[in-house]
Assembly symmetry: C3
Homo-oligomer: 116 residues x 3
């Protein structure tokens, strides 16, 4: 069985907890027949952490989780509001036009919603 989950973050200070949550969720599926597909959707001030050089420790953890299949997604409205150019983003970051729309579409597609 495949379970799908979208994590929502809009506060910078929540990144550490969120990445810990994602890691624990992945671990909970080890040695199991069911699988999990995880997306992290950042909007508001939280998108700043996607910029290269913002916080090496966070970026390293994101990169590691990205290699384990987690999708890191940025809201383009928020990138514009925080004046972050596409070129400044870590290479694993995916951009969607509107973060809230992504949250709606994914839940409508059966994703569970978690807001740390």
């Amino acid at each position: 069985m495949l379970q799908k989950v979208i994590f929502h973050i809009d506060e910078l200070q929540k990144w550490k907890l969120l990445l810990h949550n994602v890691k624990n969720l992945l671990s909970s599926y080890e040695n199991e027949s069911s699988e999990v597909k995880i997306e992290v959707l950042a909007n508001g001030e939280a998108v700043q952490a996607y910029a290269s050089g913002f916080d090496e420790s966070l970026t390293g953890k994101m990169e590691n989780l990205s290699q384990r299949g987690v999708n890191f997604v940025a809201c383009n409205n928020a990138l514009t509001a925080y004046k972050i150019q596409k070129e400044q983003l870590s290479s694993f970051v995916i951009i969607v036009p509107a973060g809230v729309r992504e949250l709606v579409d994914k839940q409508s597609d059966g994703y569970a919603y978690i807001k740390p």
Copy 2:
């Protein structure tokens, strides 16, 4: 296709971000065949922003979104806790007996849940 979304707010400081989120969500459906129905449910301290004169800037944005079809709903338990009379509320505000019950009923009716 009709998508339904309920935004939940229980912190006063989140109103600005939430109204921005709602506006961006509405915009994302422009020039599309699918439609969206949006409700904003406020409980806890957040209901204070529904009182006339609390914050003209917020009220103006709410009124504008209300005219675009967004429902602004207040939890009556919270209104009582914050001693806000029905007469003090902006005219577009709808009251429900219990905000949490509204969140449950709407999700059970297929609404996506977003907590900024």
Copy 3:
């Protein structure tokens, strides 16, 4: 009809509001034919409130709600991170290996999600 709800808490300061929310939700089903099943899932720093002696007022409210059928659940990853032993927990607390996994499984089982 049976409605199922999972409350998620990961901030200590949100306990008072959350317990108030749970109480109001229970009250909203009084004198109704439909029923509600409520679970409170705590992870992150919020698990500290499950330790006996942490806050007598909160514990008393939890105990009362527990007797009314509410399940209080702790994330074991968080208990380990905050060095809380099983023996320190209030007797009504149930432990799950990973809080985030519980949030996913319950939503997949039809629970509505509320994050105060």
